[in-house]
Amino acid sequence: MSQLDKDSADVQRIDNALAEWRQGDIALGEHWFTHVADPSKALTVESGQAKGELQSITSEVEGLVVLTQSCDIVRSCVKRPFLEVAPLVKVATLSLKQIERGLRPAYALVPATADAALVADLDRVMTVEKAVAVDWKRTQGCRTDAEIHAFAQALTRKRARFAFPDDFTQLASALQAYLQEKHDKLTKEGSALRALREIRVRAAPSWDASKIELFFWFIRDETDLERKPWDSLLEAWLKLMPIGDHFTYINGMVVLLEDLTAKDYVESDPLDLDHLSGHDI
């Protein structure tokens, strides 16, 4: 068999079939997923059931979810012949809630299958040619702008999450513990933490320098009707991170989003860290 001609009816049929698909859409009728493994050094239950060396392992899953960006899905298969898909997997109710809250970046919530506790396992990605998907039955995965945006954000976070240096993670652990412990408390600290929309950190001159100056942007919500004592809270937060030989200067500010310049924003990273007890899991 040779490659399809770009003007062939088959190409047209594939493009037509994919025209309605969007990122986050699911194929609930496809219960297979293929990855490559070496059964002589099996790392999964499935590859442990195979024999020999390098094997293409196809295992059973609950369905497939499309990760490819919508614009690339609908682009002609002549120019973009591939689709990336992840398996749908079943999780317990508590895990589903954690995934919904973004506490498990290895998984993405698929709103259409949330009732069945099926989520996208982002640790596994399979590439298929678009022709393979022609006969898949499409189920819309995300229904609103907010759902589409949240799914795309989950994919971005999985791939683009900044890996902070270990000693920074160590330095920030007290702040991290404080955030987790105080956030839901009915105290002034809890109220202030709930009013933060984002924490960003800037390392100058760079994260790989021998001596680093850190600057934390505590970005608060626009409405602060209770007039929180931000300066004293800031002082308490900064005290949780003592300076040392590597991080020689640590400072920060509580600001509104509109107070930041675009430069401030792009020069900093969102404080995105693993759970304190989860580093070795």
């Binding site: 239950v45 059931q49 195979a50 024999k51 020999g52 060396e53 390098l54 094997q55 293409s56 392992i57 196809t58 295992s59 059973e60 997997v89 999780v91 895990s95 954690q98 809250r101 973004g102 506490l103 498990r104 290895a106 998984y107 396992d121 702008d145 907010a146 945006h149 920030a172 991290q176 955030l179 987790q180 956030h183 933490l193 709930r194 933060l196 929309r197 924490i199 505590f218 409405t223 602060d224 009707l225 007039r227 931000w230 300066d231 800031l234 002082e235 400072n251 920060g252 509580v254 600001v255 107070d259 310049t261 969102p270 404080l271 995105d272 860290l273 693993d274 759970h275 989860g278 899991i281």
Partner: protein
């Protein structure tokens, strides 16, 4: 506390389409009119103007110290170090002022004069403003040094008025759009769990040998 305030001139006949200033605690000022001190000891932060198409921040308002520092930095293009030299304080002090720590009356006055001055000479580009304010003038004076010396009028006189082009009006995003564009809350962002939690099906459907040629 959110207050709707009408001026005496407007009275009860005020049309809904007329800008209606709303402030979040403190002092209200209506552009072009005098300020109305409501709670003298509380600094206000926003002056929102309600129009038929929603709310926008009023122009030419007199900002709180926090937002004045950030605006001064944004317009002037000065680094934090340069800003500290304007006030003769440490970077840390400046950061705390910008985070809401009370500022002395003298520094507050200096801050508002500085802001008014840089607003007046604003060329519409932070880099250009910084070069302008740090560059030597034909008479040998440096505007930055004049600002340090609180010679605001001399800066205005020498640099002349700015040539800022009005920013195009943009409609505010809906609450819905703003909400889903809000990043995940900080407490959720620092609690990522990485263990595998899905229920393993563990069923192999097929395995096919892959023959590869390794290049030495």
């Amino acid at each position: 506390m959110i207050l709707d305030v009408l001026t005496s001139a407007a009275g009860p006949m005020l049309e809904r389409s007329r800008p209606l200033p709303i402030c979040v605690s403190g002092e209200v000022s209506i552009p072009g009119t005098m300020s109305i001190p409501l709670f003298p000891n509380i600094r206000w932060e926003y002056l929102l103007v309600q129009t038929n198409s929603g709310f926008s921040v009023a122009e030419n308002y007199y900002p709180s110290s926090s937002s004045a520092i950030m605006e001064l930095r944004r317009i002037s293009g000065f680094t934090w170090e340069q800003l500290t030299r304007l006030f003769g304080v440490t970077r840390r002090s400046l950061h705390f002022w910008a985070s809401g720590k009370p500022i002395s009356a003298a520094n507050e006055e200096h801050l508002q004069h500085l802001l008014a001055t840089v607003r007046s000479v604003d060329r519409g580009d932070a880099g250009e403003n910084r070069s302008l304010l740090l560059g030597a003038l034909p008479d040998g004076m440096i505007p930055f040094d004049l600002l340090v010396a609180k010679e605001y009028d001399k800066v205005l006189e020498r640099l002349g008025p700015g040539t800022v082009r009005a920013r195009p009006r943009v409609t505010m995003l809906s609450n819905y759009a703003r909400t889903f564009r809000t990043p995940r809350r900080p407490n959720e962002m620092v609690g990522a769990l990485q263990d595998s939690v899905h229920i393993q099906k563990g069923r192999l459907l097929s395995a096919t040998a892959i023959r590869t040629k390794r290049r030495e």
